[in-house]
């Protein structure tokens, strides 16, 4: 808890502390942050590789085209290959982007997600699974390590969303939108940061692990109530994919905030731990 002066309930822009350095992220927080970053990148890319082997999603237990919510396809139209994306029965031409794309070997082929987005690049389900199943453990271990460490250091208290935080969500949003001069009083994390991190850490991470495990026939036999709870195996696959899309949405938002609230300062604090206070404190990523 080195010099957390800055962030202990400041209610206004504390010009008196601007320029002061604070130790914001301990070594466990930094290490697990970057491990997540790597793990999620690998998991998304290898996940898309695995998805390409059966490029459709059903809201059912066994595969059922009548319950298909998303499908990618390649077909010939007037002798030319066309890639299509079908969402809830609506088909779009997505040639070169989705359905008929980069095959990871310098050409194009019938392939849902392009080679540059998958791991490995070319079609390779076996290796995609190896990457995915290894980095799933990395992600889980980073998650558990962070939570245990934060709990032991008393940091978890600052992060967990409390009832009082909900009332501050709107004022904080207004402050972000520059419709309000000052952020509502808050601790280390502002109420919107808290909400986001709580959703990611306590809802999305556990759910993406659980929905992934529900695809496993071994888990389905050992824990027989889990897969039906998610609507069946194909439905679990659909949830798993949806959560991946939501995590990418979170990551995009995160990136915009990292860039717009003092990129170098943010990067420094996530690499060395030290953050320089300034006009952006309390509005971080």
């Amino acid at each position: 808890m080195t010099s957390d002066v800055s962030v202990e309930t400041f209610s206004a822009r504390r010009t008196d502390v601007t320029g002061e350095r604070v130790y914001r992220h301990d070594v466990i927080a930094r290490a697990t942050h970057w491990l997540w970053a790597l793990a999620i990148l690998v998991l998304v890319m290898s996940g898309l590789q695995i998805f390409n082997a059966a490029p459709y999603l059903d809201a059912s237990d066994k595969s059922n085209p009548a319950r298909r919510v998303l499908a990618f396809d390649a077909r010939q139209v007037d002798g030319r290959p066309v890639g299509t994306t079908t969402v809830f029965g609506h088909t779009f031409n997505t040639t070169h982007l989705l359905g008929y794309t980069d095959d990871g070997m310098g050409a194009e082929d019938g392939r849902a997600f392009p080679g540059w987005a998958t791991l490995p690049g070319p079609q390779d389900l076996a290796d995609g699974r190896r990457w995915h199943l290894f980095f799933a453990w990395a992600m889980f271990i980073a998650w558990a390590t962070y939570l245990i460490s934060a709990r032991l250091r008393g940091k978890l208290r600052e992060l967990v969303m409390r009832r009082a935080d909900f009332a501050k969500l709107l004022p904080m949003q207004l402050y972000y939108l520059r419709l309000r001069k000052e952020p509502p009083p808050h601790g280390t994390y502002n109420p919107l940061q808290k909400l986001t991190y709580n959703v990611v850490l306590f809802v999305m991470f556990p759910l993406i692990i659980i929905t992934g495990l529900a695809l496993s026939p071994g888990v389905d036999s050992a824990v027989p109530w889990l897969t039906p709870l998610l609507g069946g195996r194909q439905f679990a696959r659909t949830w798993h994919f949806t959560l991946m899309a939501l995590l990418i949405g979170y990551f995009a938002t995160h990136l915009v905030l990292v860039l717009s609230t003092g990129f170098w300062n943010n990067m420094r604090s996530m690499i060395t731990g030290w953050f320089v206070l300034g006009e952006h404190d309390g509005v971080g990523p």
């Binding site: 540059w116 195996r233 194909q234």
Partner: protein, 246 residues
Amino acid sequence: MKRRLFVASSLAALGLTACGSAKDALTNGPFRKVLLSAEKLDHGVIGTRGLAREYRDSDIDRNFRVNGLDTPSDATYSSLVRDSFRGYRLIVDGLVERPQKLALAELRAAGERTQITRHDCVEGWSAIGKWRGVPLSTVIAMAQPKLGARYCVFHCFDVDQSAEHYYESLDLREAAHPQTVLALDLNDKPLDADHGAPVRLKIPTQLGYKSAKWVQRIELVADLRPIAGGGGGYWEDQGYEWYAGI
């Protein structure tokens, strides 16, 4: 602000370009061993526990999707088909006290189990079928495994384009699972050639590629490494997990 965005996006672009070659170097480099270690962890944590869900008649896929290699078309298999498999004998040998040569009628007489279970393909799709056959444990017990036997290897009729035979293997614990059966019927009819006639393995607690079709011979062994590519199965030799519970 603009300059920073430019720097950041240049870094991102550079990262993406480096990604392609880095990705392939990592896949085949020394890191590969580390990558493969997850299989042992999954095997230990998930393993083979409990029973796969059994479904109702109304859940069955009447046109059960055909998977795997092409239906065998060699002279031996074709003549067996023409003969309605009257000449077929399932061989059980290797580290056993009493090697077996079992005709289909003997297999049917040995024991019976019917199960409607979901087949989960490694590609991601699932289908439900009704499998009737004889529990693998019954057949293995008939042959009386010797003390050193650890695995049963399923040698199959089907071959790929480079004339590699399909094979699979289970350890004796998985082989003893009550839902691990040598299926003779699918959806109340004897297996047809496309679905693995006359005998296929069906193990619903693992992914579909473990459920070897067109089984010709079951060999009990102490070690999988001397067989074919040494991975314990046709797909395993191509990088897929031997433990296919996930």
